[in-house]
């Protein structure tokens, strides 16, 4: 397409979207006879919903599952997730399976409104009609919950919904998954899930200024809810390279002895994957471990370096505040801390996750088992947190020091105020 045509297409799309005729679809009336679903279909949908981790975004803290209202912080402001329960007024009770399919495949609501790509339809468009129907059977058999979400708080121009038509025209490629004939069935199953419903790239692929995934840097490491999502590609900085087996263990149990544990926004993903068919988690691990560009090479050699004064100060903090658990962990009851040297947090290109974990700690959901670490945000001043994180990097990683530790912590504090 040449430049002039492209411009015309943008304008045409924009105009038609603004005029509300971009999505000519009559809203469905409330269904008359109650729809019934096969039990097996609902069960299959439940596993698919867990693979897609729908629940995490569509459930507000302490509120009913799938009833929406969770605040999702984006670089463009805050978006509140929608109510997926079949309540006719505030949920999707009036949606037909075709409406539901169109939302997943095309990013349009029942009434034809543009949906924000915080709902990752750029991935869900890969999902088969069959799986969409099973997901529909699952959500439509949840308990209807009356819950209206708060209005989004987005900055201009992101708050002008029809403009999303332009965003889609530029970045969104609709279309179902196409199997790779040279690869195994397991690899293809994994590719279908990873690129589609599981939407791994939504966090692990970096995004451009318009918030779209950079197609030429798949899985090179991105951001999620204020955390760094480590690279799942050859850009991985894991000291022990990831293998299919390690990925499987990590995804299935939230822990791998050579890579540490799932924390931050990854924790609920692993919890969810603990409930799905084993073969699906194996397939995901196979694809991530064997796709072109998967992490294989060992990490680069260490650079010689000299400790800074901050690191020395951080060493004293570490000895007093951290070493009780992280140095002599044999004496600890329950789950032992992982060796810090293998963790992604100290080997990432950014100190973001190390700062978050030192500040906030690790807390399993109420009533759940799991690794637990107290946060040190009150115990330590921000300057002391910066020093100890610099020490962690110097002492436990072969990577060059981070130069932006205090700047990153300042940014995190600002993000958390919002």
């Amino acid at each position: 397409m040449n430049g002039r045509l492209a411009t015309q297409a943008v304008i045409a799309t924009l105009l038609s979207a603004c005029a509300g005729i971009g999505a000519p679809r009559t809203p469905h009336a409330a269904p008359g006879a109650p729809v019934t679903f096969e039990r097996a279909e609902v069960v299959r949908g439940a596993a698919l919903a867990a693979l897609g981790n729908c629940r995490t975004c569509h459930t507000a803290e302490g509120a009913a599952a799938y009833a929406g209202g969770r605040a999702l912080s984006t670089p463009f402001g805050t978006i509140y997730s929608t109510n997926l329960t079949p309540d006719p007024e505030t949920g999707i009770g009036r949606w037909s399976v075709d409406d539901f399919r169109r939302a997943l495949h095309e990013g349009l609501s029942r009434r034809g409104r543009q949906l924000y790509p915080a709902f990752p339809y750029d991935h869900f468009t890969r999902v088969t009609d069959d799986d969409v129907a099973a997901l529909y059977a699952f959500v439509m058999t949840r308990e209807p919950v009356r819950a209206r979400r708060p209005p989004n708080r987005l900055m201009f121009p992101a708050n002008v919904r029809p403009l999303l038509a332009v965003w889609k025209w530029l970045y969104f490629e609709p279309g179902r998954f196409v199997a790779h004939p040279d690869r195994s069935a397991e690899w293809n199953r994994g590719a279908y899930l990873v690129e589609g419903l599981a939407h791994c790239g939504a966090c692990h692929t970096p995004r451009n200024a318009a918030g779209a995934e950079k197609k030429d840097e798949p899985f090179a490491g991105g951001e999620a809810e204020g955390w760094h999502a480590p690279a799942l590609s050859s850009a991985s900085r894991a000291p022990v390279p990831w293998t299919t087996q390690a990925l499987y263990a990590y995804l299935r149990t939230g822990f791998d002895a050579e890579h540490g544990l799932a924390a931050g926004p990854m924790a609920p993903v692993a919890e969810s994957l603990a409930t799905v068919p084993d073969a699906d988690v194996r397939a995901i691990a196979t694809y991530l471990g064997e796709r072109d560009g998967a992490p294989r090479a060992p990490a680069e050699a260490a650079a010689d370096r000299v400790a800074s004064a901050d690191e020395a100060a951080g060493g004293i903090v570490f000895a007093g505040a951290c070493a009780t658990c992280h140095h002599s962990s044999d004496a600890l009851p329950g789950v032992k801390p992982v060796p810090l040297a293998i963790t992604s947090s100290v080997n990432d290109p950014t100190p973001r996750n190390a700062l978050r974990i030192v500040s906030e700690g690790l807390h399993p959901d109420s009533g759940e088992a799991g690794a637990r670490m107290p946060g040190f945000a009150g115990e330590l001043t921000d300057a002391q947190i910066v020093a100890v994180v610099q020490y962690l990097r110097a002492h436990f990683s072969d990577r060059p020091p981070w130069n932006d530790v205090d700047e990153t912590l300042r940014r995190i504090r600002k993000e958390d105020e919002r």
């Binding site: 000895a319 007093g320 070493a323 009780t324 107290p374």
Partner: protein, 165 residues
């Protein structure tokens, strides 16, 4: 030698820099309200307030406390003259064995200092790190509500989970 400011008094303390604050409070300064529970920052029995925030004194080395302000349960009142929050705990009989209570009170005090009229949900979320093995939680919650500003209690009750939120 290191200077520590505790309850308004500056103490010169002779201890290794990685000594936990809890040990210094109890063994050097004779302030034994804060208790040793787990030593890992997981139970809250050792909670004191530093620069306005509730912290675990068992995992806080004194090396990080230079120039900072420490408050312990002894700073809130005495057995003869209890402070308002201590009074509320007594009135609600919010203790059984009592081992966790100094920590509970200090964590609650940090909340009330920052937010004099917390909702029930805010109190529950804030108190989550502190454990009580006797099961006195409901009385502890009542005591914190009692010490909160009276007008706030009504508003807090209206916001209780289950009432439409």
């Amino acid at each position: 030698m290191m200077d520590l400011r505790v309850n308004g008094t500056v103490y010169a303390v002779d201890a290794d820099p990685d000594t936990p604050l809890l040990y210094v409070l109890r063994d050097h300064l004779g302030l034994d309200g804060a208790k040793f529970g787990c030593g890992l920052g997981q139970c809250g029995a050792c909670t004191v307030i530093v620069d306005g925030k509730a912290i675990f004194s068992c995992i806080t080395p004194i090396s990080v406390l230079g120039g900072r302000t420490i408050r312990t349960i002894e700073g809130l009142g005495s057995a003869d003259n209890p402070g308002p929050l201590q009074r509320a705990f007594i009135d609600e009989q919010a203790a059984q064995c009592g081992y966790c209570i100094a920590g509970m009170i200090m964590r609650a005090q940090a909340l009330l200092d920052a937010n004099p009229s917390p909702s029930d949900a805010e109190i529950r979320r804030h108190m989550m790190p502190n454990l009580c093995r006797c099961g006195t939680h409901m009385r502890i919650l009542r005591a914190v509500h009692r010490a909160a500003k009276p007008a706030a209690n009504a508003a807090a009750d209206a916001r209780k989970p289950g009432s439409g939120a």
